[in-house]
């Protein structure tokens, strides 16, 4: 497993990266932490002619919070977010999900934005972004645009990012008073890709449940009013609507069962946190 040959550009400024992306378009791939990309390169699943390494761009290494959201720069690693002192208070859902993302060794290099761009249907960070209704900031040489999560991730490994765009940051909505957050994941081993990952946000009468690992992208359903007694039917509908497939680790049916069984527990847990 050796990659096909490619050029490598080490960037120390965002402008430089944007210039290269504009110039090389589809032939270039952005590398931040490389935790998915390197494996795909070695297996020759991707064959870019140029790798644009943004991992050392200082201006993309930041976590800043405002009233509404926490903005995380594209060169910020998952480990840096994990040790961010305000994580638990401002992003309790992420705090719960982070330990499930690979292993601490991979989190030391893997970035938050890199995970969003890779758009793996089982990944935790895209699921959290979709469930919280967060945004991504995409920038090209000519313009900057902000997309909501559900417009960004389109499907299996597919996003709305254009070839000349770099995701410079993501914005995770800050925890709101009166809301409860909960996360649960089923995987074969610690750190594996999720068979099913669930994220719940409950508050002010609404229930949002996000599911990863079942459909080809994280899928969120919101109920304006969901009584305790309606939960089983609501989750059963959701589970069937998600579809999901069989693979060697689990069946579609198992995935639906987890949505039904764990979804219920998770909603209860989030409800408890909210009150």
């Amino acid at each position: 497993v050796k990659p096909a040959s490619f050029d490598y550009a080490y960037c120390d400024a965002t402008d430089e990266a944007l210039r290269l992306l504009a110039q090389h378009g589809d032939e270039a791939r952005v590398m931040a932490g490389g935790q998915s990309l390197m494996a795909m390169l070695n297996m020759r699943l991707v064959r870019p002619s140029l790798l644009v390494d943004i991992s050392e761009i200082k201006e993309l290494q930041y976590i800043k919070s405002s009233a509404d959201y926490v903005e995380i720069g594209a060169a910020t690693t998952q480990a840096e977010l994990e040790v961010w002192p305000h994580l638990k208070r401002q992003l309790p859902l992420i705090a719960a999900a982070l330990p499930h993302i690979g292993h601490f060794q991979t989190r030391n290099r893997g970035t938050v934005c890199g995970s969003l761009c890779h758009a793996d249907p089982s990944s935790e960070l895209p699921l959290c972004l979709a469930t919280l209704g967060g945004h991504v900031v995409l920038q090209s040489r000519r313009r900057k645009r902000v997309l909501p999560a559900d417009e960004f991730q389109l499907g299996l490994l597919a996003t709305a990012k254009r070839v000349d765009e770099l995701m410079v940051a993501t914005r995770y909505p800050t925890a709101r008073a009166g809301f409860g957050y909960a996360f649960r994941e089923i995987s074969r081993r610690h750190g594996d890709f999720a068979i099913v990952a669930l994220a719940a946000v409950v508050g002010k009468g609404t229930v949002r449940l996000g599911v990863g690992g079942v459909a080809d992208k994280p899928t969120v359903r919101e109920w304006d009013k969901l009584d305790e007694s309606d939960v089983p039917d609501a989750l059963n509908d959701f589970a069937w609507d998600l579809g999901g497939g069989d693979d060697i680790h689990a069946t579609a049916r198992y995935r639906r069962e987890m949505v039904r069984r764990l979804g219920r527990k998770l909603i209860e847990e989030a409800r408890r946190c909210a009150s």
Binding site: M40, M43, R189, D216, P232, D247, H249
Partner: protein, 1001 residues
């Protein structure tokens, strides 16, 4: 041969002289550790290669079964850095097939010649100036395959209409034998009760950190080959390689380096690559280096045979078993390669495990399927056999409502009856099984565990307790594989028995002590154990003994049993080394006797000194005695050879050949293990939590408790993998699905439960020099079935298979799923591949859409990434496309044909794709129906994927296929809207297509 017999009584090694710390039995730290822990270990890829050495990359079959119609290597040869491209035809011209242990028309050369039989089978080898360029060139080799139907299930492979892998054999059952020990038929006829279960043991392995590594060089001057590899033995395969290469064994020099990054059996099956790479070196005229990568290892290195076993037992109302009948279907993948089918025969003598069952019938089907060929995996036939027997013991206990442990006790070989000759021939050397169990129950507190189960069950939780016992064989008899031959065939082939071990102890003129031996370690700590043994005999510090276990077949003493397998080290290599150390001590004593003025038998060794037993002050330093042997041969006792070097070869007389009645003592020493465990199943998720696990082992004399415990913990970890996680998964169509560690799941530290490890009893072997028995495989045998028995106990189910995937376990607990409330499209019919349905709407009338379906321009536009598309027959197209999802893309050549045309209503599409990422074939059914002015297209499809994409794409394949197909119809709908109907094509397409379209459908 210097044999044990010539020495008379065996030295127990326990007569301790004064003032001497003995190392054997102590928890001595491994001498190997500092280098390994500091990253200074020397593995093959760390060793310098000769200038001009080429790196090899191997093109592997994406198909589970196909004829090779042609291979075109010209474009690959023209690539930068490429010096040679070697195919199976090239290898076949210069080699003979690799032989196995019995006469069979099956031919195996380590590389496919005219047919591929499993995904990952080598097809061609590129030799280039580096591995990157070699892999680049792989994409440029053009192979035309004609796919054939594949079979992966061992029972299905025996069906009369199953695809036959080796036409020359004529059947997928390549060997069948029936064995009858005692009178099982009578016992079954007379028994008041009988039970029958069928178990299925999966295909797995234990994966080393370092994969296969070979550097092979053809030596044109001698016509021989110089090879360095991490092959582990048995060296009985050295003659197999030399014969295939058509050279005398002496011209095949094989060396192994100091370090090998684990093996667990897998590096036995490296030997076919050695032969193929020797030929590649000969053709390229350069040394060739090949370092296996992880994809190659998981897909195509080796696996333990998966097995189906029907177990029948006859027993009385008290649960005393009088007979067993075992019918095995042992699945060895695409080829039998030596020493296969060894695992099933290695365990033959132990077909009754630890039980005093005197009647046993064994019916062995050895068969081939379209999977990777098998090889050695730690446990070597034991996990499969004991899973069957111990599940049966649990089943009988359930039938009789007895405590399973009581049932086990009622059937154990009685204490005091050792050496015990088991029904199928094992001569079990020593043991006290009852005492091991009693002590383990007490020390492990089984009583408390039973109370935990009681409490858990009262709370409605699913909790179970499991038990398993296992006789643990060590040091294989080189004669056991002959058991698969009939008595007449054995006689014709010549008697086979014994198991020779070789070791040398050398003392240099300064008194420096060095040891070489034939154990080819892969991380077990052999250097430490041998240094302990030799240091004890010669009365020196362990750091004064240098142990070098690199091997060189042109310079070292070795015999066919050499190598690292079947727990051979502790009984065999240790005995040979001990004997060599004793010989050299005796020689030193004779040299020192005159100057100490005592007889040699009154001389002792300690603290680097040689001294009179009765007067320790009457002493001389060991290095002075050693120096005399080198500097003054004339002063040595009459008839004594000069210098100090003792090379010993050792075998054991108990390793007798297979008897006329097919009884075989398959191993020399037999340890014993007993496990019990408590598990809980999560009702919501089907996950199994191991609440408590107790394992205890009697492995005779423990040479080093640290090494022994390390082996047990390692074996337990691997067994947790086999029980809960690991399986080489194949789809029904033969494609391989677990090519990465994201899909072949080995447990990590986070998955390991607490292990309570006990050694309550030590029953030294009377047949090995230090009384030591092997200890490395015990939990491979006991843990999977112990956990399975616990699951059976928790949920009251008989049919338990490993690995215990939560999705499977949950279905065992809950059989019904809440139905969908609102009617919706039913899921597609179950197919053996990936299947799905969908629809698209086109703003055009149906006849226009129909024509578009046959229009190259429309199809070209509909296929995203289409490089070209051309019509090759009226209803058949050929295309090259860049297909992919997101950034993942690969170039594929596609062939698509339309069949069963029912204009303008429906058609069937059949097609195939092939490219560096793999191959696919599939069929789709398209139906057009008018919707007002528009047209609706409904489609359903079934796709078979194989090769790299199936191996690594696992969890995303279904979604990717769905995406690609819906994308096609979306684009088709867009580009066919507005297309005008065309003239119908009147050509006899049916005449051409079936022949042109020979592939799978």
């Amino acid at each position: 041969m210097l044999s044990e017999n010539s020495d008379g009584a065996r030295d127990t090694g326990l007569s301790s002289p004064r003032n001497r710390k003995r190392y054997v039995g102590q928890r001595v730290l491994r001498v190997e550790n500092p280098a390994l822990l500091c990253g200074r270990g020397q593995f093959i890829d760390d060793l310098p290669a000769k200038p001009g050495t080429l790196d090899a990359a191997i093109l592997r079959s994406p198909h589970p079964h196909a004829e090779i119609l042609s291979i075109d290597t010209a474009a690959a040869l023209a690539r930068p850095g490429v010096r040679a491209v070697v195919t199976g035809q090239d290898v076949a011209a210069l080699t003979d097939p690799l032989i196995v242990g019995f006469a069979t028309p099956m031919q195996y050369r380590g590389i496919a010649v005219d047919r591929v039989r499993y995904v990952g089978e080598p097809v061609a080898i590129v030799c280039a100036t580096n591995r990157y360029l070699a892999e680049d060139a792989l994409d440029h080799i053009r192979v035309d395959y004609r796919p054939l139907p594949a079979v992966v299930d061992p029972i299905a492979a025996t069906a009369p209409d199953a695809p036959v892998l080796h036409p020359a054999v004529g059947s997928n059952v390549v060997s069948y034998r029936e064995f009858r020990h005692g009178d099982a038929a009578k016992a079954f006829a007379e028994a008041p009760r009988q039970s029958e279960i069928t178990i299925s043991y999966p295909r797995n392995s234990i994966t080393p950190m370092e994969g296969y590594a070979v550097v092979a060089e053809h030596l044109p001057d001698s016509g021989g080959y110089d090879v360095i590899s991490n092959f582990q033995g048995p060296f009985s395969l050295h003659p197999v390689m030399a014969r295939a290469l058509r050279i005398p064994g002496s011209r095949l020099r094989h060396r192994s380096p100091a370090n090998s990054g684990g093996s667990f059996g897998s590096k036995l099956a490296l030997f076919p690559y050695i032969v193929v790479l020797c030929i590649a070196s000969r053709i390229a005229g350069r040394p060739i280096r090949w370092i296996e990568d992880r994809l190659e290892h998981l897909a195509a290195a080796s696996a333990a045979p998966n097995r189906v076993t029907r177990v029948e037992a006859a027993y009385d109302r008290a649960g005393v078993v009088s007979a067993l009948r075992l019918t095995h279907w042992d699945d060895h993948g695409a080829y039998l390669r030596a020493p296969m089918p060894a695992p099933i025969y290695r365990m033959h003598g132990l077909s009754t495990n630890a039980y005093a069952i005197r009647n046993v019938e064994v019916l062995n089907h050895i068969l081939v399927t379209n999977k990777c060929p098998t090889g050695a995996v730690r446990g070597f036939g034991g996990p499969q056999l004991y899973f069957a027997i111990e599940r049966m013991m649990h089943t009988i206990a359930s039938e009789l409502a007895l405590d399973p442990l009581d049932l086990i006790r009622r059937n154990l070989i009685p204490a005091g009856s050792f050496p015990y000759r088991a029904a199928a021939g094992a001569l079990i050397d020593s043991g006290d099984y009852q005492r091991v169990i009693d002590e383990t129950v007490r020390q492990g507190d089984l009583q408390a565990l039973k109370q935990r189960r009681e409490r858990a069950r009262q709370e409605g939780r699913l909790y179970g307790i499991g038990y398993a016992v296992a006789v643990e064989p060590s040091q294989s008899n080189m004669g056991y594989i002959s058991t698969l031959k009939t008595g007449i065939e054995r006689e014709r082939a010549g008697q086979k028995d014994g198991a020779v071990a070789a070791a040398t102890v050398n003392i240099d003129p300064l008194g420096g002590i060095s040891v070489i031996a034939d154990s080819v370690p892969q991380g077990q700590g052999h250097q430490t154990a041998l240094a302990q043994v030799v240091a004890d005999e010669l009365g020196v510090r362990i750091e004064d003994v240098v142990v070098n276990l690199e091997t060189d077949t042109q310079k070292d003493g070795w015999s066919i049993a050499a190598g690292n397998y079947s727990c051979r080290f502790a009984p065999a290599t240790v005995s040979a080394t001990h004997l060599a150390a004793v010989r050299i001590r005796e020689k030193l004593a004779r040299i020192a006797a005159p100057s100490l003025n005592v007889s040699a038998d009154r001389i002792e060794f300690a603290n680097g000194k040689v001294f009179a037993r009765d007067n320790p002050d009457n002493a001389v330093s060991l290095h002075r005695v050693a120096g005399q042997a080198h500097w003054s041969p004339a002063s040595l006792p009459d008839g004594m050879a000069p210098a100090l070097r003792e090379s010993v070869t050792w075998s054991a007389p108990e390793l007798t050949p297979t008897s006329a009645g097919d009884e075989i003592n398959t191993s020399l020493a037999y340890g014993f293990g007993f496990d019990f465990c408590g598990i809980e199943i999560d009702r919501d998720t089907g996950e199994i939590r191991i609440d408590k696990y107790v394992t205890s082992h009697d492995c005779g004399t423990i040479l080093n408790p640290g090494l022994a415990d390390g082996q047990i913990r390692g074996s337990f970890a691997a067994a947790i993998g086999a029980s809960l996680y690991e399986e080489y998964a194949y789809a029904e169509d033969g494609s391989f699905l677990s090519g990465t560690f994201a899909d072949y799941l080995i447990p990590t530290a986070a998955e390991m439960p607490q292990l309570d490890l006990l050694h309550p009893v030590q029953s030294p072997s009377p047949f090995t020099r230090l009384g030591a028995k092997g200890i490395a495989e015990g939990n491979q045998y006991s843990t999977p079935v112990c956990l399975a028995n616990a699951v059976a106990d928790a949920i009251g189910r008989s049919d338990i298979t490993v690995p215990l995937r939560p999705a499977k376990v949950l279905e065992w607990i809950d059989t019904a799923e809440p139905p969908r409330r609102h009617a919706a499209a039913p899921r597609a019919h179950r197919a053996s591949g990936i299947s799905g349905t969908g629809f698209a709407r086109v703003n055009a009338p149906r006849p226009a859409v129909w024509s578009a379906l046959l229009d190259e321009d429309v199809l070209r536009r509909a296929l995203s990434g289409c490089e070209y598309l051309e019509r090759v027959e009226p209803y058949a197209f050929r295309a090259a496309v860049d297909l992919g999802v997101g950034p993942v893309k690969g170039r594929f050549e596609a062939q698509v044909g339309l069949f069963d045309l029912d204009e303008p209503r429906s058609a069937v599409l059949r097609g195939s794709l092939s490219g560096p990422l793999g191959a696919a074939s599939g069929n789709g059914h398209v139906e057009l129906s008018p919707e007002g002015e528009a047209c609706r297209i409904d489609y359903r499809y079934e796709i078979h994927l194989s090769g790299r994409i199936a191996m690594i794409g696992g969890r995303m394949l279904e979604a990717a296929a769905r995406h690609l197909i819906s994308e096609f119809f979306r684009r088709f709908a867009a580009s066919s809207a507005g297309t005008q109907p065309e003239q119908k094509l009147h050509i006899a397409w049916r005449k051409y297509l079936p022949t042109w379209w020979g592939g799978r459908t």
